[in-house]
Structure formats: C-alpha cells, structure tokens
C-alpha cells in the first residue's frame, strides 16, 4: 500500500466539507492564542466606524481553521486536509502554504471549507526520499462567495 503510483491515482480525492460559524467566541479564542489586540476583530464600536462597517475576522484565522473540527483526531497524528488519503510514511512536516484572500469574513458568516488532494510527488531532499502532498482548500461563505483559497504542502518521509 502507498506506492507512489497508487497515491497518484488518489489525486483529486476530496475531503468532507467542514463548516464553521464566525462568532465572537471563535475570534476571541484565536486572537488570544496569537496575541493580536487589533480592535477591528473584537470592538464593534471601533469596527463600525471603519470601511468594514462592523467586526470582521482576521484573515489569518483561516490558517487555523483549515484544521478545525477534523473528524480524524487519532493520537500522535498530524491533522490532514484530506484524511481519506493518509501519507504512508512515518514522519510528517508542514511544508508551507499559499493563501489568497478575496472577501472579509463577518460576524454571523458561515464558512465552508473544501479540501482536495491536487498533487503527490517524490523528491530527494535533506532527509532522503520525501513524498510531497499538495492540497487545495477553498473557503466559501453562506452566499457561496469565494472568501479565500489556500494551497498547502505536507512532507512525508
């Protein structure tokens, strides 16, 4: 199981969509974890006077929300954008991401994220032969407007 050819056949596999509501509690938790005191994320009076007209969630919130409430929460495992195709080797490193932000997320929005596996390839690296899993995730609001998109890479060796 898990040869490169077999994995390549899984390209295109999509994960179950994940839904989350942009509410004050969610924003507050992440703002505290990051230590970001920008009033635009929490102070309605301040936010109303800006061009946004009200509280918006920080765009970086999506960096965390890619992994929120994933059903796959086995011990000693990395959260996977597409748990249906687990990387076969022992170690996983988060390689990095490319984010595009299109629209603000407002209080009361419901965001749906959809991830799919878009590429798997092998490359010789510092740690020997490494598998690269590339995922694409889109984030849409309740009006089906595209809010953001992310391409992310996991390294498996």
């Amino acid at each position: 199981m898990g040869t490169l050819e077999e994995l390549k056949r899984k390209i295109g596999t999509a994960a179950e969509p994940i839904r989350f509501d942009i509410e004050r509690g969610l924003i507050a938790r992440f703002v505290q974890a990051v230590g970001d005191s920008n009033p635009l994320w929490q102070n309605e009076e301040y936010a109303r006077k800006t061009g946004y007209g009200g509280i918006v969630a920080p765009p970086w919130l999506l960096c965390a929300l890619m992994t929120v409430s994933l059903p796959d929460s086995r011990p000693r495992s990395v959260p996977l954008p597409v748990p249906e195709v687990p990387p076969p080797r022992e170690h996983i490193l988060d390689g990095g991401e490319e984010w595009e932000f299109f629209l603000p997320m407002r209080l009361g929005d419901t965001i749906t994220s959809r991830s799919k596996l878009v590429n798997v390839f092998e490359r010789e690296g510092r740690l020997g032969k490494m598998l690269f899993f590339v995922y694409q995730t889109s984030y849409a609001n309740q009006r089906s407007e595209l809010v953001a998109r992310c391409s992310s890479t996991l390294i498996n060796y």
Partner: protein
C-alpha cells in the same frame, strides 16, 4: 493606529517589525482552537521521542503572526491579498520570534495600489525560520481626497 498610504511606501523599506514570545499556554490555546492536537506542540516526552529537544511552535501559528504583522501595517483601509510561507526552521516556545517585512515592489494594477513584500519570522540567532512573500493593497492619498 495611523493609516499607511501607497505614497508612503518605497521599495526596499522595512515595515515595522513585530516581536512575539509565544508561551506553551499559547500553543495549547492554538491547539485547542484549531484542532491541531499533534503532540509535538505540547507533550515534551513525545516531542523528544521524535528527536526534538522539546515542543515546537505550530507552523500555522507563525503564519498567523505574519498575518498580524501585515494586518497591523495595512490598517483598516488596506487589504491583505496574498500570503505565502515556508516552514523552513523550527521555533521553540518562550523565546522571541521577530516578524519582519520588507517592501520588494509597488505598482498600480487595475486601479489597485499594490505592494509586494518579503516577509519572515526570525529566531534569536537571526535565522529566518518562516520565509514568505505577501501582496497587499493600500489606499492612495489621491483617492482619499
């Protein structure tokens, strides 16, 4: 916060840096909020069994720090459009992570005042542990008045 405008920006300039000092408590909060419960971020014994000296900071938390650097800088009239980062080096909690950005290019495209930057996090030895790039749109004084 003072609003930065497109006209204030020159290529090669540094933007104001941000110093973070994430505690293990913050890592636990991030884990709880994000659902990334991978033990290398809060279980020292497990982290050491993986060949690490101790727990390490979530890559995505560092991406969020870079996000904060940029949303602080662009203010309420600017917008973060793109952010790319690579997790090249590991960072450990309870020490400074300095988040920096440098303007690489500015131009007007489709009526938008665009600024491209090189962004990164830096450990106390000055090593870039999370290099990346960003694209932001800033307001212009010519539009403001």
């Amino acid at each position: 916060m003072r609003q930065v405008f497109y006209e204030d920006v020159i290529e090669d300039m540094d933007i104001p840096s941000l110093t973070k000092h994430p505690s293990t408590r913050q890592l636990a909060m991030w884990a709880g909020g994000s659902g990334d419960f991978y033990e290398i971020h809060y279980d020292k014994d497990f982290a050491q069994s993986q060949g690490l000296d101790g727990v390490i900071v979530h890559g995505r938390l560092k991406a969020a720090f870079i996000g904060q650097l940029l949303t602080d800088w662009v203010g309420t009239e600017g917008n973060l459009k793109k952010l790319t980062c690579r997790y090249r080096g590991m960072d450990v909690p309870d020490q400074d992570i300095t988040v920096r950005g440098k303007v690489t290019k500015k131009y007007i495209k489709d009526g938008e005042h665009c600024v491209e930057l090189e962004v990164w996090t830096e450990n106390p030895n000055g090593e870039k542990t999370t290099p990346g790039t960003a694209l932001v749109v800033l307001p212009s004084r010519s539009q403001a008045f």
